[in-house]
């Protein structure tokens, strides 16, 4: 569940790739041939060798995974590794606990924390002013006040603390790895790190949540560690990429001065990659926040707790308010880090009056200190006064949800049945009800059609893995849902992406909505969706679409906007209609963005497979939740998690090979940069 607030735009004006060489038969025709043959074979053989296993039956491999976990669990009192990690976990807990007593929970015997809400808000606002200017300071101040006004001050501070600790360790661990990734001349190091990062990012957290508890303990320590694991990859990937892409001419020029490789790193590569590194940091923070609700499953402190506890009371409004505050926090941190990077660049160029700046900061610092003092002295400045804002908003949301579901249920039910009957069920029957070797052959042939020889090896490995871990049938159902979800995502992406690219006002209006779609915890909107669509695969698909569409829409919008204005004017001068302009010029010329959007969209939809398992979609998502819920099924859950990873890597490698074969990205810096920046 990667969170992306604002993927960096591709360099505008980049010319489209040269058209690929003409072939005797285009690739889509070959693909149709493969699918046609597949359908014939399916009609003759369906229902045989599908490798379907009942819900509570597990294979030997899965049992071995469970046994391994059990043996580690049984050894916990004597295992030196567990004792080491446990003390590490204890240390995390102590750090978080100390910070909590400073700003979030009463520091006994004080009835309140050491610094009250006014002091914390003042300090945060001052930091905003110092790093990014007064606009950001206002945003930060308003965000902090909103945490209190809606009644979640303490949970908000807890989430900030956990996020902060996890991000600090992500940077400490991630930056050296990023430098390694960015400076290594060995291709196997690069591909090894990249594959590991892919695994870390697609493995469902529920699979490793129980082992984390085993190794690090319950509560803040588990929350920090699971957040850390998920937040680490973006900074390694993006920063590593930035370092690698510092222009070789600059490096050669400075190398001529006889610098050591360490000097080169410190004086040239790191400073020149700073902007990309900040993007990486930004992505890491967003990823950390998206773990808030998952961490709450193991008593991790933060805003995820009220979201989860409202979920099991079917309290939509009660989940919405803290969920919205997570979005507020994400937007605040996103805008602050971005603005801070821009501000520091201005300062580095000497465009800031340093003397004036120092005076302003000193004066405002005094103000902040006064606020801290006041918040240590007066109860009402320490403890946020209770307001009715939170419950009122929750009430509105409840009323709105009820009205909405009652009004539109008929229409949504019709749409659900339409998609299920005419798209989902036939496709699932083809993919999952064919004998497993037929489906495997068909996937392999399609991979070859699209990605040529380059795609074959990863596809074979992943298919063999899916077969080995014994959840073939469930994997194929999950694959089907992911494909249908991606199709819906791409329809939305093209419609809204083109619209946003053509109208600045639409862009301005939609961006915050897209940001919210990406950062709001899915648990907030699951119940309304269940009310609209029932516990079905379609509900799971819609949840995936909500999460994946924003990324795809932004990518398409950026791609379409990148089409050079001269080309557009040329087409206008020939009298093309708007429709022709879009279909004949803008979309074909932003084809690489469309491919990328489809790739990212698919991975994001897949990332929601586990959430899908909680709303009636069954398949791999359900297996993962089952493994998390029942200790004897842990191995099955782990096998399902691995299968999700394999599907993700397989599809990604086929897409990449296809893009490579099509020479969509001749410019070597472009493709990985997008990918990396998306953390996908």
């Amino acid at each position: 569940m990667t969170a992306t607030i604002a993927p960096p735009r591709p360099q505008a004006g980049a010319e489209p790739p040269p058209p690929s060489e003409p072939r005797s038969l285009p690739r889509w025709a070959w693909a149709l041939v493969v699918i046609g043959v597949w359908i014939v074979v399916w009609a003759l053989t369906k229902g045989t060798d599908t490798l379907e296993i009942p819900v509570r039956v597990h294979t030997e491999v899965q049992q071995q995974l469970t046994d391994f976990r059990d043996s580690v669990l049984a050894s916990r009192d004597t295992n030196p590794l567990i004792q080491f990690t446990y003390s590490l976990g204890g240390w995390f807990t102590d750090v978080v606990d100390w910070a909590q007593r400073m700003i979030s929970i009463p520091d006994f015997p004080r009835p309140v924390p050491q610094i009250g809400w006014l002091g914390v808000t003042a300090i945060a606002t001052w930091i905003g002013l110092a790093v990014a200017g007064w606009r950001i300071a206002l945003l930060v101040g308003a965000s902090f006040v909103s945490f209190g006004l809606f009644g979640y001050w303490s949970d908000s501070m807890d989430l900030l603390i956990v996020t902060f600790v996890a991000v600090v360790f992500s940077v400490l661990i991630g930056m050296p790895l990023a430098v390694w990734l960015g400076t290594s001349r060995r291709p196997w190091v690069v591909s090894m790190i990249n594959t590991l990062l892919d695994i870390f990012q697609t493995m469902p957290t529920f699979v490793y949540l129980l082992p984390i508890v085993l190794f690090f303990g319950i509560g803040a320590s588990a929350a920090v560690v699971c957040t850390l694991i998920y937040a680490l990859p973006p900074i390694i990937r993006v920063a590593g990429h930035g370092i690698r892409n510092v222009s070789p001419t600059t490096i050669e020029a400075t190398d001529a001065a006889g610098q050591t490789s360490f000097q080169r790193l410190r004086k040239v590569q790191l400073p020149m990659a700073r902007k990309t590194i900040v993007v990486g940091l930004n992505q890491t923070i967003m990823a950390a926040l998206s773990m808030a609700t998952i961490a709450a499953y193991v008593d991790g402190p933060g805003l995820g707790k009220p979201v989860l506890s409202a979920l099991f009371k079917n309290d939509v409004g009660g989940a919405f308010v803290p969920g919205m505050l997570i979005v507020v926090m994400a937007v605040m941190l996103d805008r602050t880090t971005t603005a801070a990077s821009e501000a520091s660049e201005r300062a580095a160029r000497g465009q800031v009056d340093l003397r004036l700046r120092r005076i302003v900061l000193a004066v405002t610092a005094v103000g902040a200190l006064v606020a801290v003092w006041a918040s240590r002295t007066y109860i009402s400045l320490a403890e946020f006064p209770e307001t009715s804002w939170g419950p009122t908003l929750a009430g509105w949301v409840d009323d709105f949800t009820e009205w909405f579901t009652d009004t539109f249920r008929g229409a949504t039910d019709w749409f659900k049945n339409l998609i299920s009957d005419y798209l989902l069920n036939p496709l699932q029957s083809l993919i999952a009800e064919s004998p497993w070797y037929v489906t495997a052959t068909a996937i392999l042939l399609l991979a070859f059609v699209f990605g040529r020889a380059r795609a074959l090896l990863p596809t074979v490995i992943c298919l063999a893995g899916l077969r080995y871990f014994g959840l073939w049938h469930d994997s194929m159902i999950t694959l089907t849902m992911t494909l249908v979800g991606t199709l819906l995502v791409m329809i939305l992406a093209v419609v809204f992406g083109v619209w946003m690219a053509r109208r600045a006002s639409v862009d301005l209006m939609l961006r915050p909505v897209l940001d919210a779609g990406q950062t709001i915890p899915p648990f907030v909107y699951l119940i309304p969706m269940l009310a609209l669509f029932g516990p079905t695969r379609f509900t799971a698909i819609v949840a995936g679409v909500v999460y994946a569409a924003p990324v795809a829409i932004k990518l398409v919008a950026d791609g379409v906007r990148g089409v050079s204005p001269t080309t557009l004017e040329a087409s206008r001068s020939t009298g093309a209609t708007t429709w022709q302009e879009i279909t004949k010029v803008q979309l074909p010329m932003s084809r690489s963005s469309l491919v990328l959007a489809a790739n990212q969209g698919l991975l994001y939809v897949l990332a929601m497979a586990v959430i899908g398992g909680m709303v009636g979609a069954g398949a791999l998502g359900y297996d993962v939740v089952l493994g998390f819920s029942r200790s004897e099924e842990w191995g099955k859950g782990a096998a399902a998690g691995i299968s999700i990873v394999l599907i993700g890597i397989m599809v990604d490698r086929i897409c990449r090979a296809a893009a490579h074969d099509e020479a969509v990205t001749h410019d070597a810096t472009r493709r990985p940069r997008w990918r990396a920046a998306l953390g996908g």
Binding site: T125, T364, S380, A531, T536, F628
Partner: protein, 328 residues
Amino acid sequence: MRKMRIGTKLTAVAAVAAFVLAGCGDGGSIDEQTEANESGAAGAGDCGDLNMAVNPWVGYEASAYVVGTVAQEKLGCKVNYKDLKEDVSWQGFGTGEVDVVIEDWGHPDLEKKFFDGSGDGSATDFGENGNVGIIGWYVPGWLAEEHPDILDWNNLNKYAKEFATSESGGKGQFLGSDPSYVQFDEAIISNLGLDFKVVFSGGEAATITAFEQAQKNKEWLIGYFWEPQYVHAEVPMEKVALPPYEDGCQDDPATVDCDYPETPLKKIVSTSWADEGGPGVDLVKNFNWTNDDQNLVAAWITSDGMSPADAAAKWVEENPDKVDAWIG
């Protein structure tokens, strides 16, 4: 100059806000409360910490907070509530992170791992808590009213088509539940020759939403449900009679063809915590209440929107007899 003015303004605003708010603050002095807390701590009892696991359902929350409130208010324990699923809670017994699971529906695999004898002995069975879990097949109230014969399993096949959905592949849909729960529905359906397919909702929230919508929109639905559950107070549901449970009829998961047994819910505690003894241990040992008690508190939490702590405090205040019996 522009920046300067803004900086000054901010300071002024902060300072004014501070003093204005300080002026209207009537919460009393922090120092006074600190002193009060200090002297309070000196006179507290010897109960110590009580780490109470809070599993994610409302009934559990009601029991946990009632016991926690009594421990805190009457015995002076420091109660730490930990929001955890069942598996994680049991793992916590051995590490001292969890002391009490107040409502356990039966977990044979966890018992094997953590009870004395077969496992590491970190968990101890502390007996029944008085609640009885009833599991079964339920239909929404409107359906039972319009087709009363549906409450007998023999008639289910007659209606199977009505239960079909986009998920059930032409058969009737039986809505299975959260993977945490004991479920034999696939076996029951096949062994009774019913024309149904189990579709797993995957979570309690999904199941509850499905029953709410089915009752509201008069839709056909049959599924796994249970009592005590707060939603029975809001959505009428009727239990379908399966062949009655007999001893041993659920021993082999593959051949189950009978109803679920009534499950007495149990208290499970950390062995080392229980061995230490103290008033908190005695309280948990004695704790016992009825399904009606729990449903009442659960309804306060859900329908009336009270916080679990407030709801528990209200019940404790209104039921001194029962509470006194627990603390002896």
